[in-house]
């Protein structure tokens, strides 16, 4: 106790005697140690993340590339899915994603425009909507699948059948349309959040410039705000597409088929999709060894598609942002 207490006041005295400039610029050992520890530990964490990604990608590429060919991309599965390709699944995904975008993006963008441009910012309702959107993003995707089955297939679809098809089952069963709509609901938060973010980034100066020229609020939104935010909106759209391409649970009950000998014929057809196909190949194959290379190649294609979409999002955002960069 007493030995420790001894030097402490002396130390303090010495420090007090230094000029204030000296004291400000001295970098203590503990400061340096803290920085080094943080740099090393955060660096290691980053390395771990990259390593995991590298292992996954390497494994998929190594096992999947052997089977990859034009034929694989253009043929239907054959012989109980132990041979052939995934053409119907690719077509099914493209159709589903296209319909999903068509249905979801306009609603999402419109919601974001309402929330950011028109809704009173401080009102309870606006806050409630924001919370609802955030919660929608947190709902497990299987719940969306069940919602789609209950609402779209059994309620809307069956209702349409009763009204227009005399009770014959046309829309009252899992179908491309219902899967796309379910997926649109699932990806709504992505679109809304990205669009609102983009609208928030539009400089106030540009809005004021438009309004000061006698533009109405609507004209300002259409001609200045939305074009300026288009990069962010497009990014949100592509992210939604990439999410939609990978999800399985929401389409499980609403439209995805285990196997189809033909391509979807219309909105009421079922369809195949790579993500669900992966599940089917991995769990339902009669011959595991024969299916394995096909499984890996399907995964490779799926990962590549998602990767390309994400890269596209980055490129589009960078390009439009450069064009619209405001300031000097």
């Amino acid at each position: 106790m007493s030995t420790n207490a001894g030097p402490a006041p002396k130390d303090a005295e010495r420090r007090r005697n230094k000029t204030s400039a000296q004291r400000v610029f001295v970098r203590t050992v503990s400061n340096r140690l803290g920085d080094a520890t943080m740099a090393i530990s955060s660096g290691l964490a980053t390395a771990l993340v990259l390593a995991i990604l590298a292992v996954i990608l390497f494994d998929i590429a190594r096992s999947g590339s052997s089977h990859l060919s034009i034929a694989f991309l253009t043929q239907a599965p054959r012989e109980g899915m132990t041979a052939g390709g995934i053409f119907p699944a690719i077509v099914g995904m493209v159709e589903m994603v296209f319909l999903m975008t068509l249905a979801g993006v306009p609603v999402g963008v419109a919601t974001a425009i309402y929330l950011h441009e028109y809704a009173p910012a401080q009102s309870r309702l606006t806050r409630l909507i924001r919370i609802a959107v955030a919660n929608l993003a947190g709902v497990p995707s299987i719940v969306f699948g069940l919602f789609g089955l209950g609402f779209f297939v059994q309620f809307l679809g069956a209702g349409i059948d009763k009204m227009f098809f005399g009770g014959q089952k046309v829309y009252g069963q899992p179908a491309l349309l219902w899967a796309a709509l379910t997926m649109a609901v699932l990806t709504l938060p992505v679109v809304i959040v990205a669009t609102e973010e983009a609208l928030r980034a539009v400089p106030r100066e540009l809005r004021e410039a438009s309004l000061a020229l006698g533009a109405t609020k609507l004209q300002t939104v259409i001609h200045v705000v939305v074009p300026q935010a288009s990069a962010g909106i497009l990014t949100g759209m592509i992210l939604a597409v990439s999410r939609g391409a990978g999800e399985v649970a929401p389409i499980l009950f609403t439209g995805a088929a285990y196997f189809l000998p033909h391509l979807p014929k219309g909105l009421s057809s079922q369809f195949m999709t790579p993500s669900y196909h992966v599940y089917v190949l991995a769990t339902q194959s009669p011959d595991v060894d024969a299916t394995k290379p096909i499984l890996y190649t399907t995964v490779l294609v799926l990962v590549a598609l998602t990767f390309v979409l994400n890269i596209a999002a980055v490129v589009v955002r960078a390009r439009v942002r450069r064009q619209n960069s405001f300031g000097h």
């Binding site: 809005r207 006698g214 109405t216």
Partner: protein, 261 residues
């Protein structure tokens, strides 16, 4: 040059301001201000930062309404017509009272589309008429010769001074009756500033101009009338030559002689 208005004839009043107060929430930003802005003359608002001159300027074409917490009392009349009157659409007010901002803010569009913007949203469809008025506006803003060969280029490629003149051209294209300018040259170098000042002198024969500036020399050079604001109050308002040579208020004198500010 225009700092010596007609000595005898009193010019017509374009804007009549009576007891105008602008508040941000509970806090008063500026006021009460009472003044008459002379038609087809330049009126400058000077004063130290935060004195309320910009807030006052923005109240003259209802731009303050874009700030949610902002509200005001008092009266502003354009040709005797209350711009804050019941049923008056701020859009129509802003068509007649244009504005140029401190920071040039061209749209990320071509030069020609920037100037044509106000015309198009105003419903003008005739492309020949639009082209004609774009050219006239660019000429008025002394920018035509520099950009006539690259009207389709993006406006963001212009220099800072050119961008600001483009913004002036854009405001002039819709032919407002009054042009409000909020420190239009504060971000520009001396040469670009001289261009803007020259241009203000040129257009003041056709337009009523109100300009906010923190540069007293600028006010002395361009303005026929000058108002001195301090701590949210209008301290003194007079002909520019009178205000700068024989100020009647001690605070005005202290400010223009550089004792504070």
């Amino acid at each position: 040059m225009s700092s010596a208005p007609a000595q005898n004839a009193t010019p017509a009043t374009k804007l009549t301001v009576r007891e105008l107060c602008v508040y941000y929430g509970e806090k008063k930003g500026v006021g009460p201000v009472t003044m008459d802005v002379a038609e087809k003359h330049v009126t400058a608002f000077i004063g130290p930062s935060g004195c309320g001159k910009s807030t006052f300027l923005r109240a003259l074409n209802r731009m303050n309404e874009l700030i949610p917490t902002c509200h005001m009392t008092g009266e502003v009349k354009l040709d005797g017509e209350a711009i804050y009157g019941p049923g008056v659409d701020p859009v129509t007010v802003r068509r007649r009272i244009g504005m140029v901002f401190q920071r040039s803010n061209p749209f990320p569009k071509s030069i020609i589309e920037n100037v044509a913007y106000g015309l198009r949203i105003g419903g003008l469809k005739d492309e020949r008429e639009i082209a004609m008025r774009v050219e006239r506006a660019l000429q008025q803003a002394a920018l035509w010769d520099e950009v006539k060969d690259r009207l389709e280029d993006n406006a963001l490629g212009l220099s800072g001074g050119q961008q600001q003149r483009l913004c002036i051209a854009r405001a002039l294209a819709v032919e407002p009756e009054v042009l409000l300018m909020d420190e239009p040259a504060s971000a520009l170098d001396p040469i670009a500033t001289a261009h803007i000042e020259e241009l203000i002198n040129e257009i003041s024969t056709d337009y009523t101009i109100a300009i906010v500036t923190h540069n007293m020399q600028q006010a002395a050079r361009v303005a026929d009338y000058t108002a001195f604001f301090y701590m949210g109050e209008l301290v003194e308002f007079d002909r520019t030559d009178v205000l700068f040579t024989k100020p009647s208020n001690q605070r005005t004198e202290d400010y223009i002689t550089g004792r504070f500010g």
